[in-house]
Amino acid sequence: MSIEIKLDKRIASVEILKQFENLLEIKVDDKVYQVDLMHNDEGIFSILANGRSYNIELVPQPKPKHFTAYTLYDSYDLEVIDAEARYLRNRTGSAPLLSENTITSPMPGKVVKIPVTVGDVVKKGDTVITISAMKMESEYKSPMDGIIALIHVSEGSTVEANQVLIEIA
C-alpha cells in the first residue's frame, strides 16, 4: 500500500515493505531504509536509522491529513495524499481551494480597521483591512484591481487563522 506525501514542494511515495514490532523496512521514493521507529500519542517520533538518532514532532493542522513537522533544524508542512485525497484532487482539478481574489488572515487576531465597504473600487496594493495581534498591527492589501464583493468580518471582531476576510471580484 504505497501512499504519497507532500513535503513542502516535494511529493514522495512511501511504502512499508516489512515490519517486526518497531523495526520497519520502508521505502521512500527509491531509497530503502531500515528504521527503528517509536512514537507516542503526542506526535513525538524517535527514529533510529543507520545509527543516527532522529527526533521529529508532528502537529496536526486544522485541515485533515495536514501536519507540521518539527525536526531539530527546521519545520515542514506536510500533506498525506491518500486515495480519498487523490479523488478530491482529481475532481476539483488543479484549482486551489481558496480563490486568489480572497484575503485570509494568516494568524489569529482582531480586526482593527476596514477602510472599504462592499462595492468600493480598489486597486492592487490598496489596504483593505488591518488586523492586530499581540500589540502589532498588520495591513492587508488587495492582490488585484477590482471591486469589494463580500466582507465577512467587521471592525472589532476576532478572527481565526486562515479565516476568509474579504472577497474581491
Binding site: F20, F45, I47, E57, L58, V59, D74, P108
Partner: protein, 504 residues
C-alpha cells in the same frame, strides 16, 4: 518599617510568576489578577489567590487601576507589584495606591512623573551633570523655531514628540530639503496621537550601542549600580537578546558610566530598582537616553552575574530596609546572556504568531535558567505581548556562554506556534555576534546570515516523511478502535501495525 505579608501582582504571564517565586521564597502570600482571556494562564494557577478583573483588552482589565486597588483592599494585600508594562510607570496609579495605604513597589509618584516626561528627564540629567544626546532642552513650540534649532545642531537629527513613545511623532531627518516637511508631519502626528504638538530635537546617532545600567536605591539615600546590560540586538526597536558584561565596555568606561547612572538616580532620590539607558557610539561617547522606573524584562542577566535577587531587593526597599551592600562589594562574575523567546515568524518580518502550544521541552542543566509561563496545551492569547519566555545562560566567559546558549536553544522545543528560537540560534553563529562587534544595526546588517534557510539533510527529510506516514496510519486506527474509557497503558507504540504488514 512595615513587614509585607501579601502582595497583589498587577500583571500577567512570565513576570507575574517570576515575582511570585520570590514572594514564595520570602514567605509572602501572592494574589493574581486575570482578564477573561487569562483564566488558564499559569500565573493564576501559581498564585495563592486569584481574582478576575475584566475582559481581555488590557484597557478593561490590567490597566483598570481602580478595580485592581479595590481587589487589593478586599483581600487585604499590603502591597502591589506592577511588574513591567501595564501600570508599572503610571504615576497616578502609584498615587492611588498611597492614598489607599497600599505600598506601591516602585519609586514615588513624583519620580515616575519627573522621569516619564522625556524633556523633564533630559533637564534632570543635565542638572546632574550626565551627558545627554545634543539637542533642545525645551520643547519646540513653532515650526520656525524647530528649523532654526535643527540647523544649529546639524544634520542628521531626530525630531521626537515631547509626550511621545512607541515611535509616534518621531522623524529622522538626514537631508536639508526634508527639514520643513518632516517637522510638520512630526508635529501633526504628535498632536493627533498625544493631543500635544510639542516636539524636541536630538542629534541622531547612527548605529549606536544601546547600553543600560541597573541601579538600586533605598529610602535612606543609598544608591548603587549593578553594572551594565548590552541591549543592541533589536528588531522593530524591540530587544531580542541582552548580555552582560557588554563586549564594548572597558573597566574605565564602566566606572564612568556607572558613576553617572548613580548620580542620575541620586538626583531624583530614587528608591527601588530602575534602569538608566544610554546610547553609546563606536568611539565610546555615551549619552543619556531615558530612565525606566521599573524592573526590566532583561533583569535576570544582572541577577546572574551579581547573585542578587532584584525582586527581593525591591520588596526589601519597599519595606523600608536599607541596602545591605555597598558599591565596592558588588562583583560582575562570569558572563550572562538572555534570549527572548517570542511567538513570532522571525523569517516573515517577525510577525506575531499566537496559537496553541502543542509540546514543550525546556532546556535544563548547568548554567541555564528559563523564566516562562506557557505550558503544553496553553493557547497564547492574541491580546498581549508575544514574548513567551526568557532563556538565560551563564558561563565563566563570553565564548562559553555563547556555546551554552546555542546548546540551550537547540534543546528548547516548542511546537504548535512559530517562535524566535531558530533565529536566535543563527545569531549565536553570526561572526559579528561571536566577535562582539555589533551595534543596533546588527540584524539589518546580517540579514543574509540570519534569514538563511537551514534545511536538514535528505535522509532527515525522508525520516519526516516516514513519520508522517506512520502518524497517518495510526490516526486511521485511532479513529476506528479507541473507545476505551482509560488511556492506553504505554504511550509509546510498538505493536500497532504488526497485523497489517509482512513481518521482517
Amino acid at each position: 518599617m512595615k513587614k509585607i505579608t501579601k502582595i497583589l501582582i498587577a500583571n500577567r504571564g512570565e513576570i507575574a510568576i517570576r515575582i511570585m517565586r520570590t514572594c514564595r521564597e520570602m514567605g509572602i502570600a501572592t494574589v493574581a489578577v486575570f482578564s477573561d482571556a487569562d483564566r488558564t494562564s499559569m500565573h493564576v494557577r501559581y498564585a495563592d489567590e486569584a481574582y478576575n478583573i475584566g475582559p481581555a483588552a488590557s484597557i478593561l482589565s490590567y490597566l483598570k487601576s481602580d478595580k485592581i486597588i479595590e481587589i487589593a483592599k478586599d483581600c487585604q494585600a499590603d502591597a502591589i507589584h506592577p511588574g513591567y508594562g501595564f501600570l508599572s510607570e503610571n504615576a497616578d496609579f502609584a498615587r492611588k495606591c498611597a492614598e489607599n495605604r497600599i505600598i506601591f513597589i516602585g519609586p514615588s509618584p513624583e519620580v515616575i512623573d519627573q522621569m516619564g516626561d522625556k524633556i523633564k528627564a533630559r533637564l534632570t540629567m543635565i542638572a546632574a551633570g550626565v551627558p545627554v544626546v545634543p539637542g533642545t532642552t525645551e520643547s519646540v513650540k513653532t515650526e520656525k523655531e524647530a528649523i532654526d534649532t535643527i540647523l544649529q545642531i546639524g544634520l542628521p537629527v531626530m525630531v521626537k514628540a515631547s509626550a511621545g513613545g512607541g515611535g509616534k511623532g518621531m522623524r529622522l531627518i538626514t537631508e536639508e530639503k526634508d527639514i520643513a516637511s518632516s517637522v510638520r508631519s512630526a508635529r501633526s502626528e504628535a498632536l493627533s496621537s498625544f493631543g500635544n504638538d510639542s516636539v524636541y530635537i536630538e542629534k541622531y546617532i547612527s548605529s549606536p550601542h544601546h547600553i543600560e545600567f541597573q541601579i538600586l536605591g533605598d529610602q535612606h539615600g543609598n544608591v548603587v549600580h549593578l553594572f551594565e546590560r548590552e541591549c543592541s540586538v533589536q528588531r522593530r526597536h524591540q530587544k531580542m537578546l541582552e548580555e552582560t558584561p557588554s563586549p564594548l565596555m572597558t573597566p574605565e568606561l564602566r566606572k564612568t558610566m556607572g558613576g553617572y547612572a548613580v548620580e542620575a538616580a541620586r538626583a531624583v532620590k530614587y528608591a527601588g530598582a530602575g534602569t538608566i539607558e544610554f546610547l553609546v557610539d563606536n568611539d565610546r561617547n555615551f549619552y543619556f537616553l531615558e530612565m525606566n522606573t521599573r524592573l526590566q524584562v532583561e533583569h535576570p542577566i544582572t541577577e546572574r552575574v551579581t547573585g542578587i535577587d532584584l525582586v527581593k531587593q525591591q520588596i526589601l526597599v519597599a519595606e523600608g530596609h536599607a541596602l545591605t551592600f555597598r558599591q565596592n562589594e558588588l562583583r560582575q562574575t562570569g558572563h550572562a546572556i538572555e534570549c527572548r523567546i517570542y511567538a513570532e515568524d522571525s523569517d516573515n518580518n517577525f510577525m506575531p504568531n499566537p496559537g496553541k502550544i502543542y509540546n514543550i521541552t525546556e532546556p535544563l542543566g548547568l548554567g541555564v535558567r528559563t523564566d516562562g509561563y506557557v505550558y503544553e496545551g496553553y493557547e497564547i492569547p492574541i491580546h498581549y505581548d508575544s514574548m513567551i519566555s526568557k532563556l538565560i545562560v551563564w558561563a565563566e566567559n563570553r565564548t562559553e556562554a555563547i556555546d551554552r546558549m546555542k546548546r540551550a536553544l537547540y534543546e528548547y522545543k516548542i511546537t504548535g506556534v512559530k517562535t524566535s528560537i531558530k533565529f536566535l540560534e543563527r545569531i549565536m553563529d553570526t561572526p559579528d555576534f561571536r566577535s562582539g562587534n555589533y551595534d543596533t544595526n546588527f540584524i539589518e546588517k546580517n540579514k543574509d546570515i540570519l534569514h538563511a534557510a537551514t534545511k536538514c539533510s535528505e535522509d532527515c527529510e525522508d525520516m519526516v516523511i516516514i513519520a508522517a506516514y506512520i502518524e497517518y496510519l495510526d490516526r486511521l486506527n485511532i479513529a476506528l478502535t479507541s473507545k476505551e474509557m482509560y488511556p492506553a497503558k504505554n504511550r509509546w507504540k510498538k505493536y500497532t501495525y504488526q497485523k497489517n504488514f509482512e513481518r521482517l
